[in-house]
């Protein structure tokens, strides 16, 4: 196994079903909200079938970046390109899993999953089968008819995952999908993510504040600096996801170096503030 820091490189994919899948290429990306510069020249690529984790201090533009990757935010400058052709059964190449789940409260669990299939060419019967399959995959079959308000946070995010996987995404964009959950649920769901990502082979971009999530999932880890955000460092972890152990000293070393990179930024921001910057 090797853990290396350096520029973005094509690594060996995780070897999922969607091999030869879709990657992303980001070039010269700048973004400002009005006068507020948020992203200041990002260039990186996301290799097909890999998990790219983005970490960075609060407010550095991670969510904005993810929004741009998924076409929900129009960048001021620069572009994002999909590399490769999504599989034939892919209904929505770039698919989000949201931090706040974004479940539709007036639809049942099954209705929430069904919603994203209703404007697709899928027949009604195929749709129902797909919904049932996804709910089974997420362990939600018994809750198909429940309202979102009746579910725990962890179950709500499982619905979010079932919904995302229902469209057979080429790229999964996950913005702090676990941060609204308690620590135990987070741990459980994280392991489920590992399984699902390996199984679907979807390319994944995962934003998190949590460094152990970063080392558990990340094959490429982008560390962003303070706003306006740039890529400060790119770390790679080549240990296959399935082989990673929390007590692996190499992973712990990566976690420490991530923390060192981020702590410096936090301290810098603090100094700047105390000087009235």
């Amino acid at each position: 196994m090797s853990v290396s820091a350096g520029g973005a490189q094509r690594g060996v994919g995780q070897g999922g079903v969607g091999q030869g899948g879709v990657g992303l290429c980001v070039t010269g990306l700048h973004h400002a909200f009005g006068d507020l510069p948020v992203l200041d020249g990002l260039d990186f690529s996301v290799a097909p079938g890999e998990v790219t984790v983005i970490v960075g201090p609060s407010g550095c533009g991670k969510s904005t970046l993810l929004g741009i990757l998924g076409g929900l935010v129009q960048p001021s400058r620069g572009k994002v390109t999909l590399q490769g052709t999504p599989a034939a059964d892919c209904l929505n190449p770039l698919t989000f899993v949201f931090q706040d789940f974004a479940l539709v409260p007036w639809r049942s669990v099954a209705g929430n999953v069904s919603l994203v299939l209703e404007d697709t060419p899928l027949s009604r019967k195929d749709r129902q089968t797909r919904v049932a399959d996804m709910l089974a995959l997420a362990g939600l079959s018994a809750f198909a008819d429940a309202w979102p308000r009746q579910l725990s946070g962890g179950m709500r995010q499982r619905v979010g995952i079932a919904r995302a996987l229902a469209v057979r995404p080429a790229v999964l964009l996950m913005d702090e999908p676990l941060s609204a959950l308690d620590a135990q649920t987070r741990g459980l769901l994280l392991e489920e993510f590992v399984g699902l990502i390996a199984r679907t082979g979807a390319t994944t971009v995962y934003v998190t504040h949590n460094l152990s999530e970063a080392t558990r999932l990340g094959q490429q880890i982008l560390v962003m600096g303070r706003r306006p955000g740039r890529v400060r460092a790119v770390l790679r972890i080549d240990t296959p996801l399935a082989a990673r152990r929390a007590d692996d000293p190499a992973l712990q070393a990566v976690e420490r170096s991530l923390w060192d990179l981020l702590r410096a930024d936090a301290a810098e921001a603090d100094r700047e503030l105390s000087h009235g910057g």
């Binding site: 929900l72 989000f96 949201f98 974004a102 007036w106 919603l115 994203v116 209703e118 404007d119």
Partner: protein
């Protein structure tokens, strides 16, 4: 440990409960009191009538078919005027909620016209649409339109942005986003708007019928008043309040059926 103090409960109150029988008993009690005062001659039946006399008047009006003539004329105006005002208000409210192009001009017009007491417009509408049904229905529709626009707009504005972004991120069509996200999300506000607009509509109905009509409950109440016929006058008012109660019951049902997810 000799030094012990029991912790006193201090978390009570501030949580009134509904007691169904108490509501019914209060109303029945008040009606009985009124009847007793009238029977004892403590209040003048010429001025205040009495529950029994009102019931008798209602019975006669019902039997002669006169009641139904007035009620059907009123209900027809109410239904047509409310539906027109509501439908146009929903369309305009959603448009103002969704489109930049509609919002500022539309809000300017709505804010300018909303404060006008609609009853003041009845004479104008009579000039424009004649003394017949037209002016009454337009008055009602006009009065219903503005609160509907405002409530619908507030409802659409209140739909979480995140849900719309979610729908866009899954490539839902604009029509699906409207019908599956925006409208259901605005529905609670729209339905609470209905409570306002139905009662506004009843007020305007009676006012319009008092200004120029020979049929309708408003006209009937006014005629009875002119004749010092308090039995019939109050019978008309009982009918109005029954209509109001029915409408509110129907709305309650709709809320329960459509907002089960809450």
């Amino acid at each position: 440990m000799a030094d012990e103090t029991r912790v006193a409960f201090r978390g009570g109150g501030y949580a009134p409960r509904r007691v169904a029988w108490a509501s019914a008993a209060t109303l029945i009690g008040l009606i009985a009191l009124w009847q007793a005062l009238a029977s004892l001659g403590w209040v003048s039946t010429a001025f205040a009538s009495s529950p029994v006399a009102i019931a008798r008047a209602l019975g006669q009006l019902g039997a002669s078919g006169e009641l139904w003539g007035h009620v059907s004329a009123s209900l027809r105006r109410l239904a047509i005027g409310w539906v027109i005002g509501t439908a146009s208000g929903l369309v305009v409210g959603v448009a103002l909620g969704l489109y930049t192009l509609a919002r500022s001009p539309g809000m300017a017009v709505v804010s300018a016209l909303f404060p006008i007491p609609k009853i003041a417009l009845v004479p104008l509408f009579i000039i424009w649409f004649g003394i017949g049904e037209g002016s009454k229905i337009v008055t009602l529709a006009f009065g219903v339109f503005f609160p509907t626009v405002i409530n619908t707009l507030a409802g659409v504005d209140g739909v979480p942005r995140g849900l719309i972004r979610m729908a866009q991120s899954f490539n839902l069509r604009p029509w699906s986003i409207l019908t599956k996200i925006v409208l259901p999300g605005a529905l609670p506000a729209i339905l609470s708007g209905f409570r306002i607009t139905t009662s506004t509509a009843i007020i305007l109905l009676v006012a319009a019928e008092m200004i120029g009509a020979d049929r309708g409950i408003g006209a009937f109440v006014l005629q009875a008043g002119n004749l010092y016929d308090t039995d019939n006058l109050l019978a008309g008012i009982v009918v109005l309040s029954a209509i109001g109660l029915c409408v509110s019951w129907v709305l309650g049902r709709l809320e329960r059926a459509w907002l089960r997810w809450r």
